[in-house]
Symmetry: C2
Subunit: 316 residues, 2 copies
C-alpha cells in the first residue's frame, strides 16, 4: 500500500509498504482523509523517537473487523490503544496505560497510509451529515472539549486562549460555545474573521497580566507558556493544552507565588466531537489550506511546505 514512512530521522513515500495484518479485536480501516498536526511536525523533529507511519487524525471506512456491525461504516477513532488489563486501565484511565500504543505516535503505524489498524472499541461511526473534511477534525476537537471535563468554567466567563493556531482556534470555539467571552492571543487576526458572530476577540499584543480566571495555553512555545503564567490571575486556573520540544522553560515557581492551578490536558473522547460537527457548532473548513496526496506529501513536508499553514489534509 502507499504510505509515508518516518525512519532514521527521515520521511519518505513508499508505494509498496505492507498492508498491516489484523489481530483479533482490531479493525482494518481504509483511510479516506488524514490531517497533519503540530505533533506530526514535532515527530519529524524527533519527538517521541517514533519510527513507522505517522499520522493520528483520520476518517476512514472499516474494511475488515471481528464482527459485522462495523464493516463498511465510516469511522473516526480514539488514538490510544490500551492493554485494558493493567491497574491504570482498570481504574478507567486507558489513555495513560503504560503499555498502550498510540496511532502514529508510539508503537503503532498511523494514518498517513492507505490502511490503518485500531481496536474496534475505540471506533465511532460518523453521521452522514458530517463530511470527511470535517470529521477529520474529530480528534483535535475532542482534545479541546476535554477541557470542559477537567475544569469548572469561571463565573466571570472570561477566558484567555494563548495561540491562534489550529488547536487555539478550536479551543476558542469550544469556550465561546460554552458561553464564555474569549480573548484569543496570537499573530493572525485574519483567522477569526471566519468566526464572526462568536464571542471571540482577537488580540495581537501581550495578554493583560493577572487578569483571567481561566487561561488555556495552546501555543506550544516557552513564550506562550510564560504569557499564560502571567495572564492568569492569582488563584486562577491555567490549562496546558499543547506540548513543546524546546528545552527552554519559563520560571515555574510563579505557580507557587500566584497559587495557580495548572491542569495538563491531552486527548479527549471523539464521541463528544461528532455532535458538535453535525450541528455545525464548530467551524473547521476555513482552516484547510491545502490537500495533498500521499505520493506528494513526503516531498512537500521535506521541503517545508507545511510551515505557516493552518491545516493540511492528506488523502491517499
Amino acid at each position: 500500500m502507499r504510505a509515508l514512512v518516518f525512519e532514521d530521522g527521515k520521511l519518505r513515500f513508499e508505494a509498496g509498504y505492507p498492508v498491516p495484518g489484523r489481530p483479533p479485536g482490531e479493525a482494518r480501516i481504509k483511510v479516506t482523509c488524514a490531517g497533519l498536526c503540530a505533533t506530526d511536525l514535532a515527530i519529524f523533529n524527533g519527538y517521541m523517537d517514533f519510527a513507522g507511519v505517522p499520522g493520528h487524525e483520520f476518517v476512514g471506512v472499516v474494511v475488515e473487523a471481528d464482527g459485522e456491525s462495523l464493516t463498511g461504516k465510516r469511522v473516526v477513532g480514539g488514538i490510544n490503544a490500551a492493554c485494558m488489563k493493567c491497574e491504570v486501565c482498570n481504574r478507567g484511565d486507558e489513555t495513560h496505560c503504560p503499555d498502550r500504543t498510540v496511532l502514529g505516535i508510539q508503537g503503532r503505524d498511523g494514518a498517513f497510509a492507505e490502511y490503518l489498524l485500531l481496536p474496534e472499541r475505540t471506533l465511532v461511526p460518523v453521521p452522514d451529515e458530517v463530511p470527511d473534511e470535517a470529521a477529520v477534525f474529530s480528534e483535535p476537537i475532542a482534545a479541546a472539549l476535554h477541557i470542559l471535563d477537567q475544569v469548572t468554567l469561571p463565573d466571570s466567563k472570561l477566558v484567555a486562549v494563548i495561540g491562534d493556531g489550529r488547536l487555539g482556534l478550536l479551543v476558542a470555539q469550544v469556550m465561546a460555545n460554552s458561553g464564555c467571552t474569549v480573548d484569543l492571543y496570537g499573530r493572525h487576526p485574519e483567522r477569526v474573521k471566519h468566526l464572526s458572530g462568536s464571542e471571540i476577540k482577537h488580540h495581537t499584543g501581550r495578554p493583560l497580566q493577572d487578569r483571567y480566571d481561566l487561561v488555556v495555553e495552546c501555543s506550544g512555545s516557552p513564550d506562550g507558556l510564560e504569557a499564560a503564567y502571567g495572564a492568569v490571575r492569582p488563584l486562577g486556573t491555567l490549562v496546558m493544552k499543547s506540548t513543546c520540544a524546546e528545552p527552554v522553560a519559563p520560571n515555574p515557581w510563579q505557580v507557587v507565588v500566584k497559587e495557580i492551578n495548572v491542569v495538563g490536558s491531552r486527548c479527549g473522547d471523539v464521541n463528544k466531537a461528532l455532535p458538535e460537527l453535525a450541528a455545525g457548532r464548530i467551524k473547521t473548513g476555513f482552516m484547510i489550506e491545502e490537500v495533498w496526496t500521499l505520493a506528494e506529501a513526503a516531498d512537500k513536508l521535506n521541503s517545508g511546505a507545511a510551515t505557516g499553514k493552518l491545516k493540511i489534509l492528506i488523502k491517499p
Copy 2:
C-alpha cells in the same frame, strides 16, 4: 530598638533602629521569638528586592492596639496585610491583594527586631500550653495545613513529600496526621527518627516514577521539582509548596503528557496551626538547632552559620 536591617544587598545589626509608629487598626507587638526560614535566606540573596527588617515567623506580646482586648496577649499572626478594599480582597482572596504588604518580605518591616506592626485582624492569641518555641512555627505549619484546603487526599492515602528540610518535615507530619502513608525523600534520614510511630518513611534515593497520586514539592530546587514531576502518576496531583530563585527550570511540558494537576500553595491560616501545636500533633522541638540573639544574628548569617541548619530561632 534593636533590629536586623537588610539594605543594598547587605545585612547588618542596628541598636538604634526607630520603633515603628502605629497606624490605626494595627497592633504593636513586642517580639519574643522569631524563626529563620528559607525565604529569609532567599531574601538575603535578592529575592523580592526587599529592603528593611526581614523575618516573618514570630510570636510576641501585643503592647499597643486600638482596642483593649488584644493588649498584653501573646499572639502569632498572618503575614499578609491586605488593603481590604480592592476587588481581590472583596472576593476573600486577601493573601493575593495586589496592594498588600507582607511582613518582612514586601513593603513592611518584619520580625527580626524588638517590635513589629501587623493589622489587628491578622492576630491570633496563643494558648498558654503552647510555648514560644513551638508557637513560632505557626506560620509554616499553617502553610503546610493549607494543602488540605486545596486538594482532596487520594483514596490510596499514599503521598510523596520531596525534600526533608523544615517545610518538608512539617508537611510530612500534616499528611501523616491526615491518615496518609508518607514517603519522604531527602538527604537526612536521621531527621525522621524524631517522628517514630508516625507513618513517615524516609528515602534517600530518587522517587519511584509515575507512582504517587499526590506529591508535595518542598525542596525548592529545580532537581526537586523534576523529581516531583517524575514521581506523580499520570492524572495525579502535584502540590508546589516551595519557591526557588534559580532560573533553571525542568521541562514543564510533562505536565501535559501526564495530564497532572499542579497546585501552587503558599500561606495558610495561622488559626488552624495553634490547635495542632496545643494538642502536640506536630513535633517541632527537634528542628531547633540554634538560638541566636539579634545582636549576634547578622554576623552569624553573614558568615554562613545558617547553612545546613534545620531551624534557627532569633530572640531579641
